[in-house]
């Protein structure tokens, strides 16, 4: 795979699943 394709794939997965993980962390943090 080309470097640019790998970078874009990481951007896509990073923002979506990274965002979901961050939200989950906030939710768990709020619950204490």
């Amino acid at each position: 795979m080309s470097a640019s394709a790998i970078i874009m794939m990481c951007v896509g997965f990073g923002i979506t699943w990274g965002g979901a993980a961050l939200c989950l962390r906030i939710a768990l943090g709020a619950r204490g």
């Binding site: 080309s2 640019s4 394709a5 896509g12 997965f13 906030i26």
Partner: protein
């Protein structure tokens, strides 16, 4: 007055909302759309649209349901009785989608069975259009009923009925808690296996290699916003109904962010899965990817079965793939039907059992049209009009109403007051200007396209009979239901603060 049903847990609500958003489109629409619109570069407008339109719209719908504790007609009637019609048109659009969407779910159920025996044989195209659908020569020749499809559609309606009639907690929430984890597991297993096949990496490379020159084409941005509006189940009554079952002390903003992120993340995963298969198929057949790449019904029922024939363990892969489609389709169908059920229960005070049973039975009867030999044509036309004019039209009307005729700040204050984190003024700006502008552009472009060139090469009689008439029926039935008197107490508490009158 009886207490409104509530979700049993936050996880249950999120899984149900994610289950509604994740549907067949995530698997067969997003990957090809990304590939066609600049590959990896498409992710830039797509993710931008997700942040500036998808998340703000989701927060708006969650807030409406949570604040007014009612389905779309009730929520909109609570803002002002004169807006109830919009909620009913949304429900009618949802009903239209429910009756044809279930036909596709019926196909995926049938194909799950076919995968076990490899029933599509060496020529999946001939099998799908000929033996399975019994496709007639045109949309005006409806042909005869296909018993296999009718049986599968009846099964899909029965599952939806069972989930809806059992109630929010015991039915819909439980279905989400089973369907979503199983769907993710199936797609993950399938993807982790297919990425190691010869040519799969090349397929994924094709999907994600960016062509940044495409970013200057406004159509790519329009396609990205369109995909976001379609994929999230927003704008046609579903998310308002689902969030109306939230307890008073519930987060809104974080739940909306999570739902959207998971939905779009799933689309990425589906993209890797589909393009791994296409890359493998192209490599095995020695043809360029452009020859095998595609989307929609052709991808799912012709291209993928052809690829599965070439794979090791075709029974395993075939069953996994079509079971995934069935799970994704079922969870979405349950949510669409629930949006309609909750609206009728709110307005007329009917019991859940009566409403769910009547709607599912009526829905099944109407769905049988799509089980005829010419059903695919009818489905194609109805789908085109329901999506491109129906959903986008009512979504535009809802955002315009809330952001230009009401005080959107009140909605934001409500969401922030119960959420784990607050959204700033960007939320208002995104909805008031960006979402309204882009949706208006989409509606105008689609309307212009449909008025100047007949969709899909169909004749004007077919388009009039199955397209324009269905849209007109949605509007007229919506207005009729608005005019019908409901149970006493329906939306009597008008929210003057939202209209800027307090």
């Amino acid at each position: 007055m009886t207490q409104r049903e509530q979700w049993g847990s936050r996880l249950g609500f999120i899984l149900a909302a994610v289950g509604s958003a994740i549907g067949l489109g995530n698997i067969w629409r997003f990957p090809y759309m990304a590939y066609e619109n600049g590959g990896g570069a498409f992710l830039i407008p797509y993710l931008f649209a997700m942040l500036t339109a998808g998340i703000p719209f989701m927060i708006l719908e969650f807030t409406l349901g949570h604040r007014f504790r009612g389905s779309a007609p009730k929520a909109l009637a609570s803002i002002g009785r004169r807006w109830e019609w919009l909620g009913w048109i949304q429900v009618m659009v949802a009903t239209t989608i429910a009756v044809y969407y279930v036909a596709v779910v019926g196909w995926t159920i049938s194909y799950t069975g076919f995968a076990l025996s490899g029933a599509w044989g060496e020529d999946p195209k001939a099998f799908f259009f000929g033996e399975f659908l019994g496709l007639t020569s045109g949309a005006l020749e409806l042909g005869s009923l296909r018993p296999t499809i009718l049986g599968a559609v009846a099964l899909a309606w029965a599952v939806t009925w069972l989930a809806c009639v059992s109630g929010v907690r015991a039915g819909i929430e439980r279905a989400g808690k089973v369907l979503m984890p199983v769907l993710f597991l199936l797609v993950l297993v399938f993807t982790l296996r297919v990425v190691w096949l010869d040519g799969a990496a090349q397929g994924v490379n094709w999907l994600f290699t960016p062509d940044f020159s495409r970013l200057t084409d406004y159509r790519v941005w329009v396609a990205a916003y369109g995909q976001i509006f379609f994929t999230l189940s927003v704008g046609f009554a579903i998310m308002i109904a689902y969030s109306s079952y939230l307890p008073a002390r519930s987060d809104i903003n974080n739940n909306a962010f999570m739902t959207v992120f998971i939905n779009c993340g799933f689309s990425m995963l589906a993209g890797v899965m589909i393009f791994s298969v296409l890359g493998y198929m192209a490599a095995r057949q020695g043809v360029p990817l452009s020859e095998v790449a595609g989307g929609g019904v052709g991808l799912a029922f012709v291209t993928i079965p052809t690829a599965i024939n070439l794979m090791p363990m075709p029974v395993f892969f075939g069953t996994l793939f079509f079971l995934s489609l069935t799970m994704a389709g079922m969870s979405s169908h349950i949510s669409i039907v629930e949006a309609c059920i909750s609206a009728f229960m709110d307005k007329f005070g009917w019991s859940r059992k009566t409403t769910a049973t009547s709607l599912c039975l009526a829905g099944f009867v109407i769905s049988s049209v799509f089980c005829l030999g010419g059903g695919l044509y009818v489905l194609d036309i109805v789908d085109h009009f329901a999506n491109n004019l129906g959903i986008l039209g009512v979504a535009l009307a809802e955002i315009f109403l809330l952001s230009w005729l009401c005080r959107l700040e009140v909605v934001r204050e409500h969401a922030n007051s119960v959420s784990e984190f607050a959204v700033g003024a960007w939320w208002t700006i995104c909805l008031r200007y960006l979402s309204v502008g882009i949706l208006a552009l989409l509606v105008v472009l689609n309307l212009y396209g449909d008025l100047t060139a007949p969709y899909g090469g169909y004749g004007s009689t077919e388009l009039l009979a199955y397209g324009w008439t269905v849209i007109a029926a949605c509007v007229l039935l919506g207005l009729a239901l608005r005019a019908t008197s409901g149970r006493p107490g329906f939306a009597v508490k008008h929210d003057a603060s939202l209209r800027g009158e307090s």
